[in-house]
Subunit: 342 residues, 2 copies
């Protein structure tokens, strides 16, 4: 299935999205170029502003990398309104570059809703996909194994067919990106027993059981970090809550350790040890290591990052987009959706 890549990969990065844009975006994108020489970078955004910041920060930036976009969608702008009223915004322009095959991937730490709407509406959905989905990877107690939760917030009030499609996309993603041969799929539920669940899970259970997917039945909230399965499917409301709850766990840990450290000199020393150990053993719990979440099911690669993305997060988002391109994910999705069509 390996294909000869005739085209050189081009990755567009939203230079204006994110709370620390364009600085973190420029630094992150350039850092990615240093790690992987095999792609062309396109920095989308206000040319003057980008160059000005680069000068101020003494960043050596080739202005030919910049693709000008005069408008910016703010973090509090209403997504669907904004992508209509700001056609020359970096988010809309970036998505359009992918649509027009001028780029293969678009990466942004900007307004999440606008990024989802622009990617979906402009790039378009892959045939067989009713709704695109966001995948969030979680670390597990089973070594390097990842558990990916679909949908992590792309849409709510899902129908069984949506969860079924997430399972197909998730299965391919787990196989291609994490090298899992026959990814195990679990349906998130309130209990393992078949008799447990809500209207959505009962109907979805049937669809998954009757399919050729490697469906392992119901899993519970604890099974995500346990790594019981490779892919967990659920409604985007639930997935979004878990994703954000999960991210806040590290914040709680850090706060508690800081409070502990404040109670005396010996505590301070012990806290330093704790920090270094946790950094070494929980690095994959930090969102920065994977940078952002991919939006799957659309005709192009789209990765959505945190508003507060650091240069490291941006770099990892770009490298992840590159990996998705190298692994031909979009074509693999199309093939799988055809194969599993019912």
């Amino acid at each position: 299935m390996t294909e000869l890549k005739l085209e050189r990969c081009r990755i567009a990065v939203d230079a204006m999205g994110g709370d620390y844009a364009p600085k973190n975006e420029i630094l992150g994108a350039l850092a990615a170029m240093k790690e992987d020489k095999n792609f062309d970078l396109i920095l989308v955004g206000d040319k003057e502003k980008i160059l000005k910041i680069a000068r101020e920060e003494k960043i050596d930036l080739d202005e030919n990398l910049i693709y000008h976009a005069s408008q910016i969608i703010g973090m509090s702008d209403k997504p669907t309104d904004a992508i209509k009223s700001k056609p020359d915004s970096s988010i809309v322009v970036g998505a359009r570059l992918v649509k027009e095959k001028k780029a293969h991937a678009f990466v942004s730490g900007g307004n999440t809703g606008a990024m989802m709407a622009a990617s979906t509406l402009i790039m378009g959905r892959i045939k067989g996909v009713s709704r695109p989905t966001i995948g969030a990877s979680f670390p597990t107690t089973s070594g390097d194994k990842k558990c990916i939760v679909f949908d992590a917030g792309s849409s709510v009030d899902s129908k069984p067919q949506h969860l079924f499609e997430y399972a197909i996309l998730g299965s391919i993603f787990s196989k291609e990106m994490y090298g899992v041969q026959n990814p195990e799929i679990g349906l998130l539920n309130v209990g393992e027993e078949e008799s447990k669940g809500n209207e959505l899970t009962f109907a979805t259970q049937k669809l998954l059981k009757d399919s050729k997917l490697n469906f392992r039945g119901n899993v519970e909230g604890r099974d995500i970090l346990k790594g019981t399965v490779d892919v967990v499917v659920c409604d985007g409301f639930v997935g979004n809550v878990i994703l954000k709850f999960g991210e806040s766990v590290l914040t709680l840990l850090k706060t508690r350790i800081r409070n502990y450290a404040d109670k005396g000199m010996l505590n301070k020393i012990k806290a330093l040890v704790v920090k270094s150990v946790l950094k070494a053993s929980l690095s994959d719990m930090d969102y920065q290591t994977h940078g952002g979440v991919p939006l799957l099911g659309i005709n192009g690669i789209s990765i959505i990052g945190h508003g507060s993305s650091s240069p490291m997060a941006i770099k990892n988002m770009v490298l992840r987009a590159k990996e998705m391109y190298d692994k031909n994910l979009i074509i693999k999705f199309e093939e799988a959706l055809k194969a599993y069509a019912i």
Copy 2:
């Protein structure tokens, strides 16, 4: 509002529920009696078996504390079937003791579903409650502040009215048990904006806004551990997933630290420091410190524990039941439901 308690508190403990029953149950219940002399203990279960284990473990147990129940509901028994087919099981008998005013509270680490069903069906619901609810307390980054999530898994496919009632019960619980004067209520959602949400949250938002409750709007998954509000309401499917996900975080931490320790002598020493610091600063993340989750909205005190409850967990469940009794929670709930009735 303080009331003269004419009756001495009586707490029934399911001696047969839980994976390590009756040993952990006996030890935990006796430990609770040592900490608080002001209640009578009733150990519900197979008298012969309880006495035999007590002898084997050299526990000094007064056999008058035992209330005989000949049957046991197993962990894998179907809840509603089991409470019908095993009328003399410790769970059914314990719930009946509360119904018949022979006990004020019932505590069990046994089959969760059976415990919920028996408590609800036998003790009966408080007037104005459509569905009972389970509350799960989470630690927060805001010092000692707790954030309680209702519903943590008592029922799924909730209606807006159910979430509204959870908010009333949760508000009283937070006020009485944690001393919060005017508890802030948040509606769990995928974003803070009013425009975000699913069918359930849109309809619930309206009910909460129009009420006299201290409703602070939407909150996200990260707001639970942040302690943005005192009470978070959501459908039991979502709450159950968060509760179980949250519990698994400590397991992930422990596994990672163990793996780190295995990599050499220096690592082992550092890991010991980490363990002691985390134990000191994250003790409230351990379910054993509160023991179990209360089922609210029924005519009696019912606390549901883990199958794997330790003696410490059982002890804390009993002491919590005692606190709920001392604080007259059932009467406070009744009054609040009347006051907020629409």
